[in-house]
Amino acid sequence: MICQECKQRPATMHFTKIVNGEKTEFHLCEQCAKEHGHMFMLYGNDDFPLNNLLAGLLNFQAPMKEVTANAFPNPDLLQCETCKMTYHQFTQIGRFGCADCYRTFARYLPPILKRLHSGNTAHSGKIPKRKGGVLHLRKQLALLKQKLQELVAREEFERAAEVRDQIRSLEDELRQRGEGEM
């Protein structure tokens, strides 16, 4: 078999790429494969090695065991109403079909997320502004409470009192706005 790229040297490297269930085969000589590999690895998709491993990881036994323990009939039959992706499909592809999948498959996600993100299952980063001031206020409140504890521990009572007042006014604001919005 000759290399499909240069059509000259014999093909010594054989790859199979599967995208959305569609299989493409590559037969390349070492030199062309290097050029390919060069492009893929150095400038490639960030998640290249991760995604390859992901489907295998999702088929891992742990979530299944947990499922039996929860006496939930068969997770494979679970289907997202919005995009029609089944849990089985998700474990095969390693990607969700839409944002609602996160809700549909919620009970199976914690062990997966823990494994992928070193035990973490909750976001503690940026919040989109449009998602309403309430989330921002809550985050700010949590930060201020932490700050208050630190100031009390350091016996900086004057500054602690200022922070306490800020916390109170934030809590008032949350009480006024939070109810209707959430």
């Binding site: 790229e5 240069c6 000259q8 995208v19 959305n20 030199q31 062309c32 290097k34 050029e35 590999g37 060069h38 492009m39 893929f40 690895m41 150095l42 400038y43 490639g44 998709n45 960030d46 998640d47 090695p49 991760l50 995604n51 992901l54 919005t82 995009c83 029609k84 992706m85 592809i93 390693g94 990607r95 969700f96 079909g97 839409c98 944002a99 996160y102 996600l109 997966i112 997320l113 992928l116 993100h117 070193s118 035990g119 973490n120 299952t121 909750a122 976001h123 503690s124 980063g125 940026k126 919040i127 989109p128 502004k129 449009r130 998602k131 989330l135």
Partner: protein, 363 residues
């Protein structure tokens, strides 16, 4: 096209600037993955949804400018030639996945090529900011500001507990991938890198060489990026990566000093032999070119070579890839023709510097 003209249009403006610690850090990149509510993810969406998303971004952001990055132009993958797409990949502006597997893929590209927003890749959008040298915090600030600007016009898929919802669970939370491209020839030469990579992996970061994990890096260039996107804030993720990168910089600098001391004239000889190959070769494969460029770059950093700018490695690593070689040649090339073209392009580039140097001396 004359070489100078080709070269000037091929090199992005950010690429010819020097950044902090740019003797070791080639570039810093921030990528944010975002999705729009009410549309299925690219894994499952249909062509109608895909077109609507492209149209939404074209209508809202094309021809508008952001900060100092200049105006955005929308490039549709279906309207580009294969060589043009390949050139965009080689310039790190789009991913190979967008170029090859996304029929409805598009990209909003800023005038100075510092910002690219990939549309309909694995997620609806991927905001990418690329800065020279070690500027992770600056790149994060730019990406985050751009994220706010976009969010002013579209509704992102976001969950209070899980954060930004992404197609792949490896990106959920911040959707942030921060990565740094580093040139570490002394750590490779002293074999310390074999000890360092596993240690870095244990810290939740990923190190990649050119041929993948555990393999030799082409041109001694390594990419280091965060693996976790959930549970830590964007600032913490970037700060952790920054700390590790700074330690690597210190170790690389120490290893370089040790090499100068122990090898002395032999190291200088290695550098100038590689320079000799690049300046005179008529045929060169990508691997040899990358190794020689790495040696020359080290020679520039150590002060052995004075008439060539530092970023020559970044430029030539990109310019000597198949897409650029074929664009330079004006058509498709077989691999052995590429090896000849690659040699010619490198010689031209080095000659261009010599000419610049001579003109500078005359003045």
């Amino acid at each position: 096209m004359s070489f100078e003209k080709f070269f000037n249009t091929a090199v992005s403006s950010w690429m010819s600037q020097e950044g902090p610690d740019s003797d070791i850090v080639l570039s810093s990149r921030i990528r944010l993955a975002r999705n729009i509510v009410d549309f299925r993810f690219p894994t499952l969406f249909n062509s109608e949804e895909a077109k609507q998303i492209v149209a939404l971004f074209e209508r809202t952001f094309a021809h508008r400018s952001y900060g100092g990055a200049g105006r955005f132009e929308l490039l549709k993958m279906s309207e580009l030639q294969p060589i043009e797409k390949r050139v965009l990949v080689e310039k790190h502006l789009i991913s190979p996945h967008l170029a090859e597997d996304s029929p409805f893929g598009a990209c909003l590209l800023s005038e100075n090529e510092e910002i690219s927003i990939m549309i309909n890749e694995e997620d609806h959008i991927r905001i990418q900011c690329l800065f020279p040298g070690l500027q992770l915090a600056e790149a994060l600030e730019a990406a985050s500001g751009l994220d706010d600007w976009i969010e002013g016009h579209v509704n992102y898929a976001f969950d209070e507990r899980l954060g930004y919802l992404t197609s792949c669970p490896t990106n959920v939370g911040t959707g942030l991938r921060a990565s740094v491209m580093m040139h570490l020839p002394a750590l490779v030469l002293t074999q310390q890198i074999n000890r360092i990579i596993p240690a870095i992996n244990q810290l939740g970061l990923v190190v990649r060489g050119t041929y993948g994990e555990g393999s030799e890096a082409l041109g001694n260039i390594f990419q280091i990026s965060n693996q976790l996107t959930l549970g830590k804030s964007e600032e913490d993720i970037v700060a952790d990566l920054h700390t590790i990168v700074q330690q690597l910089i210190a170790q690389e600098r120490a290893a370089r000093q040790a090499l100068v001391k122990t090898l002395g004239i032999q190291l200088e000889d290695k550098v100038f032999r590689s320079y000799g190959i690049l300046a005179n070769c008529r045929v060169i494969e990508s691997k040899e070119a990358a190794q020689c460029l790495s040696d020359v770059r080290l020679g520039i950093d150590l002060g052995y070579i004075k008439n060539i700018p530092r970023n020559i490695l970044n430029e030539l690593m990109i310019l000597t890839q198949p897409g650029f070689l074929q664009q330079y040649a004006g058509g498709a090339l077989r691999p052995e023709e590429r090896d000849v073209r690659r040699a010619a392009l490198i010689r031209e580039r080095l000659k261009m510097e010599e000419r610049r140097k001579m003109e500078g001396d005359e003045r």
